[in-house]
Symmetry: C3
Subunit: 365 residues, 3 copies
């Protein structure tokens, strides 16, 4: 069964196919409004996310399909101790496709292994949120026609910004991408992304201390919200705040065809005086997310009958237990541990993708 | 963009058009059941109201349309600090029309200025609930054929009763209306409505101490619930309670064609022994609300492309800040202060319609 | 108005008709996908139950109908003191059929007496959950072709297990049923079911101390969850736990065509190693529940116009009050007491079916 857990589940050709479908939907909506007649999407939102849930629901309705679901974690079956595996299987009896948001890393993979229908990860803990990346990609594609050779600035919380990591993962497939990383030192992009993703893909990057400094060279500026809680020194927060806030004044230094993205919600990191600027694409980004979800639903339903490979545990990983406390394997009955073995002898949990290092032969408990 | 914030946004001709459409829907439902095929209504209920929300959802489904939405204030984007303006704009990307209920006065106007699609005020704080008034108007229209010359009794909480104020506002357009105001002294109709609305419209009114005293002359009796918390002296509450309770015995004193309305929910101010009386119209009122919402949705969608005027601040009001703590301008980023200047030199907040009096030249902070 | 409050509201012929319809839906889904076009189901879930609610919603959507509803008890009208009778009547203005779950025993009957449209009991307190029984019946019917002569094992919490009681009630109509009751002594099947239902119907039963002991003779094994809170002696719980847990090892002792049912959610009373066994029917049971709800919706809508008898109070019961604190008559305005008189002089509350014994002539308050 084909599901979408991580943006890298889609090949570059599949991504291009989704973007072309989305553009066709934008151009000819009437040809798509009956495609999912008689089909149902279940939105299972164990934690609330109004924007994402409504985007999926709007997408399915615009395809002529139906929607069922729940939108908070207080569902009785969960509180009665039902496993996520069972819940996924039961919901798979009611719908043709599932979109799920869950607070635990790796929950989407676990659910997809049991649902019996295609499953779209709408956000699993701090792990992935691939459909946001689809919205981001389409926005750049519509503005720029492609990705090769772009200079992309990332601003704000690059340490915890899940959408930043995922967008970088997606960009890694293209050529000659330059990135400019604009963040407070405390929130800079993690090393493992620089070395493990960007360097490996031939992406070059530089760090910049402020938007103003970086903006003249950017083709794309990807803004993110800095959550105050994440920024340790609140005095420091106020001082640096301005360097990471975009306003109309700073937009004067940008290229005439630069585009500004933000996964939203934005608080004050983009001043409202930027909104009328045609380079501000963050609300078009919202619509693009809906169109890409429509394309994705069609794609997954078309492949629904196909056999998916079921993930298997690396033989050498027998007995290992994921150390990430937020991984779905903690506290979920029926979630067998699954690892892949890396070239350097470490193991990666297939659910949450955190790394586990063990001494040869030593098992942790 | 045409929206419905306050009942007075609709001209008398438009109101009549809505009522005629509603009557046609009642007579020929089959002609309307596909009118909104492919369209979507978003119900944004920041505070719960099952009756109103389900009425809107039923209305849209009976037009062949789809519904998305949320029904409580615990939506993640709000808790992440997103402005109401942004939320409205995002939801406007997912739906063709919005019905919104919000706890702050004036929230509906602010949202309508940003949504990009028609917005229906389903209740904004203590300010307005225009679609309840539409239900009330249709109920009287179907029973009486029109409004001129009617004697309308209002009973219960006339001080805080938002639906009472709105219905009076609507009746003000008609001729020779007499009203009888039946309430405890603590909950009588505010002066500003008597002088500012009723007197100005040529409506006459008298106060009555009990239903029994007033009922023989009434064409319409509009009952409202008295919330115990509002009634200061709880001993006084018990004593006076009976004077404002309607039962079958008192109905004997009423005209044979009087109609009884109540916006519901009713607690004990209408005894259940009134329910079988054909003059009891409060459940038909529920259905009329649904039909009027259907007519309203069709009306607003038909005019969706038209340019709405964007409200502008009176020049003399520069720097003024609304003093109503429950106004949406308090605590909402991006809600610019907007006032109109009144003939007597005071200002009225365009959002919540509370008045602001300032000394000439003095600005409050 | 025909509603479904208790499984016994359906005659054996009607039950068979529902099962035949469900089987036809399974075989020819395309013939049913437009049957409820233009109709609406309202799901009123005063307490959450994701599985049951989503099953009803999926059922209505697969019939081409629409769904409105609420899924928690925090609906404003209820908190404003509206009676359940009024709520039911209002919702009956918005939908063609209602499925309701409520925490009070007897709530479904009260609502059905006021709704004006067919009402399906989706669970009223500890009283009934008839559509679960429909799912159970269809599962056995599809596996066995009928019910006569079956040996059915019930395992787990037979004292509080509402679905067990209801399934036994349904089986009572068939011939030569043998039951094996497998439970801890603290949770055994109540006497009134043994004498009042099983004995009266000619069903024979025996008690068994463990699954292992009973499984070789079973045609059907109906598993239920034992809630730890119900089991007084937690030490005793651990000791006995294994006797009431089903696993693949114990399945080796079962007939090759035995079927395993469970109303779900299951926690650990069925080991996941049973799931691949073709005799494990509990997930097919989920789908059967949806198909039976589809058949039930069609059946009730087809009979919606018919006059239902309105329950009346036995003359001798005048002044009596139901003693069950969880009965909906406690605390609900407008819920008139209704009893039937039994042969032995006791009375049964028509809402919650609890018995009231009074001395001749003595009324309780």
């Amino acid at each position: 069964m084909k599901s979408l857990i991580d943006i890298t589940d889609l090949s570059e050709a599949e991504l291009r196919g989704l973007m072309d479908t989305a553009c066709d939907i934008i151009a000819h909506p009437g040809e798509y409004c009956e495609k999912c007649r008689g089909r149902k999407l279940a939105t299972l939102f164990f934690e609330p996310s109004t924007r994402t849930r409504l985007s999926f629901e709007a997408a399915m309705l615009e395809l002529g399909g139906g929607v069922i679901g729940f939108s908070d974690a207080d569902c009785s079956s969960v509180s009665k101790g039902e496993s996520l595996a069972d819940t996924a299987r039961v919901i798979g009896c009611y719908a043709d496709i599932i979109a799920m948001r869950h607070p635990k890393d790796g929950a989407a993979l676990l659910a997809s292994m049991n649902a019996g229908v295609p499953l779209i990860n709408a956000g699993d803990g701090g792990h992935c949120h691939p459909t946001q990346t689809l919205a981001d990609l389409l926005t750049v594609y519509r503005a720029k026609g492609g990705f090769d050779g772009l200079t992309v600035g990332f601003c704000g919380d690059l340490k915890y910004g899940r959408t930043v990591h995922s967008f970088i993962n997606a960009l890694a497939r293209y050529k000659d991408i330059k990135t400019v990383l604009i963040s407070p030192p405390e929130l800079c992009l993690p090393e493992y992304i620089k070395t493990g993703v960007m360097a490996r893909a031939g992406m070059v990057w530089r760090e910049a201390g402020s938007i103003e400094e970086a903006i003249p060279e950017l083709d794309v500026l990807y803004m993110t919200r800095i959550q105050r809680e994440r920024f340790g020194n609140s005095d420091g927060y106020s001082e640096l705040e301005d360097a990471f806030v975009l306003d109309a004044e700073k937009m004067k230094g940008a290229k005439p065809d630069m585009c500004v993205l933000h996964p939203l919600p934005r608080v004050d990191e983009i001043s409202t005086d930027v909104d009328p600027d045609p380079r501000a694409k963050y609300f078009e980004q919202v619509k693009n997310g809906k169109y890409m979800r429509m394309a994705l639903i069609l794609h997954l339903l078309a492949h629904a009958g196909e056999q998916g490979g079921r993930p298997a545990n690396a033989p050498e990983a027998h007995g290992l237990v994921c150390a990430n406390e937020r991984c779905v394997t903690h506290g979920e009955r029926g979630a067998e541990q699954l690892f892949r073995r890396n070239a350097d002898g470490s193991f990666t949990c297939l659910y949450c993708e955190s790394e586990l290092r063990t001494s040869a032969g030593l098992h942790n408990d």
